[in-house]
């Protein structure tokens, strides 16, 4: 899986690339518009992460170039909160998704994974993890061949974990993933405990335990072993 990361801030680019590499992607980093333009003309990528504000050109023009090349790459736009018009134009030009800065890296992983999944397999695919098998286009989860019935939030939560296996997810990131901006209103993260508790209980009932580990004071992690 090859990703092109276009972001002019070096430190931020480093963090994003690091996180994506940990998730198993091959990442090429680019800081300038001209450089990015050259790369998309020469290489094929599965996904392009595009910061819209570049010092030497408009990110939206890169998007236009990608679409003109009939690139198969999915495009995830990264914007500042106030650039709402850019977001709309981006969607009109064929971007797959957008993230507003600042965002959680685990959220970025989940979005990238979803884009690549949709692009590569036309949605016809499976996500295997240990004894689990998820069929995203049917929104079904199987444990050793048995169907696991989950609520929508529990299913979302599980998919979020599956997009970040082995990675510690902070409670803030989980909360924001579940309820978006409404997270500002949450004085505590009680509501994620409820969903987590139910998800763990349902997994336990099917005989799979300790998939989701609590990292004390930090968050949760989907464990490989």
């Amino acid at each position: 899986m090859k990703i092109l990361l276009v972001e002019d801030e070096a430190a931020l680019r480093g963090a994003l690339a690091g996180s994506l590499r940990q998730a198993g992607y091959v990442v090429e980093e680019v800081a300038r518009f001209a450089e990015a333009h050259e790369k998309i003309a020469l290489h094929q990528y599965d996904c392009v992460l595009l910061d819209l504000t570049l010092p030497d050109g408009a990110g939206l023009d890169l998007l236009r170039a990608l679409k003109a090349n009939r690139s198969a790459a999915g495009v995830l736009i990264i914007t500042a909160r106030d650039a709402l018009q850019d977001k709309i134009t981006g969607f009109d030009l064929g971007a797959d998704d957008y993230l507003i800065k600042p965002f959680h890296l685990s959220e970025l992983n989940a979005r990238v994974r979803a884009i690549i999944r949709r692009r590569q397999f036309n949605g016809q695919q499976q996500i295997p993890f240990r004894e689990l098998l998820v069929l995203p286009n049917l929104a079904e989860v199987h444990v050793r061949g048995e169907l696991l019935s989950l609520t929508k939030k529990e299913y979302d939560l599980l998919l979020y974990f599956l997009a970040n296996p082995g990675r510690i997810l902070t409670k803030e990131a989980i909360a924001e993933h579940l309820i978006g901006d409404a997270v500002d209103a949450a004085d505590s993260f009680d509501f994620i405990y409820t969903h987590l508790k139910n998800l763990r209980k349902k997994l336990q009932e099917k005989g799979v335990e300790n998939y989701i580990r609590t990292m004390y004071g930090v968050g949760y992690k989907l464990s490989h072993e």
Binding site: A15, L84, I168
Partner: protein, 438 residues
Amino acid sequence: MNLLNATTRYYLFLALLLFAVGSVGLYHGINWALRTEVSEQLADRRRELLAKAQANELAPVSQLATLLDISRTPRPLGFRDTILLDRIENEWVPHRQLTFPMVVRGEGPVWVSLRKSLVEADDLLGVVLSVMLGVLALLLAGMVALNRWLAGRLWAPFRHTLAALRRYDLQQHRPLALPTPAVAEFAELNQALNTLSQRLVGDYEQLREFTANAAHETQTPLAIMQAQLEQLLQVPALAEDPAAAPLVADLYGATLRLSRLHQALSLLSKIENRQFPDAQPVRLDQLLAEKVTQFEPLFEARELRYGLNMNGGPVAVRMHPGLADSLLQNLLQNAVKHNVRGGEVTLYLSAAELKISNTGPAVDGDPARFFERFRKHNAASESPGLGLSIVQQICEYYGFGLEYQLGEAGTRHILRVSFAAAAVSPAAARGAAARASY
């Protein structure tokens, strides 16, 4: 009391004083002149009588006594003032009297008293006073009339300046352009005000740019901090020390709070700087339904019951979609945050208004202050207390009415946003339905 009346009062006071002094002076002056004249006339008459006596042309004393006051016994000599009864008018009248000795041939010395009435002097006082008072009254009336006229004419530029200052709004980023009137003082005033406003606009513009730049420059380091801290949490070495990971997690949480605060502040400054020019019809009913779905987990977690009433059909309001989102977001946030476990949130939306009411602990204090920045209901709360400020700013920006009400013994809080003239017709709303779904 206006400036003209104040100066007029001093003028009148001075005029009164001068008139009083003038009246006394005039009275005494005229009185002195009259007495001198009367004395001179008496002296002339004496000279005439003495000359006649010298020439022996006088009638005998017995005859003279019918015309003059003559006595054969000595009397005090010289001028005197005396009062005599006027038999015709039957009143006491002041007289000037001159007594002198005279020798009538063949009859020896006699003493003659000549008298002349001073009655004119008293009448004089009346005349002087009435003339003076008449002039004073004329002066007063003249002053008032002049002031009226001046107030209307001379002060017109001043009132124009005043009206311009009252209307002045720094947020429009335009300096005052006051004209230069003919009167030097007003011209100076206007010039000073123009300079002042230019400086204000300049400073304000600088501050605005500074805020915008600061906001932009803060955003990137914050995003970097957040990303790097999240990466730091993944470092395996961190898991070996049970104390280290929570520290980083706290730091991470604080960074998130800081970045939310930063977003709220830059939103506020953007609204103040009117940087949301593109208004379009936004389907508030759809947006509200979306938001409520988003908030559902929070309602559940706090065991809040909620009611959503949008029976009025589609509601489209002309505003920036981003601000519409912020408005609903912050109103809902407020209703959840300041609620009690097991409480209630009621939402009512019609073409005319949006009403959000929620249960909550009784609060004291002035409702107007709830909209102040960094106003916290609970000092320990993690939220910076900017939500209602943002709501207020958005409402002000679009001219919506915003009203806070306290109901049911202080435990129900009602916020009402009335869209007033900003609402568009249902037909336009249906047309906009396809576009305004974010």
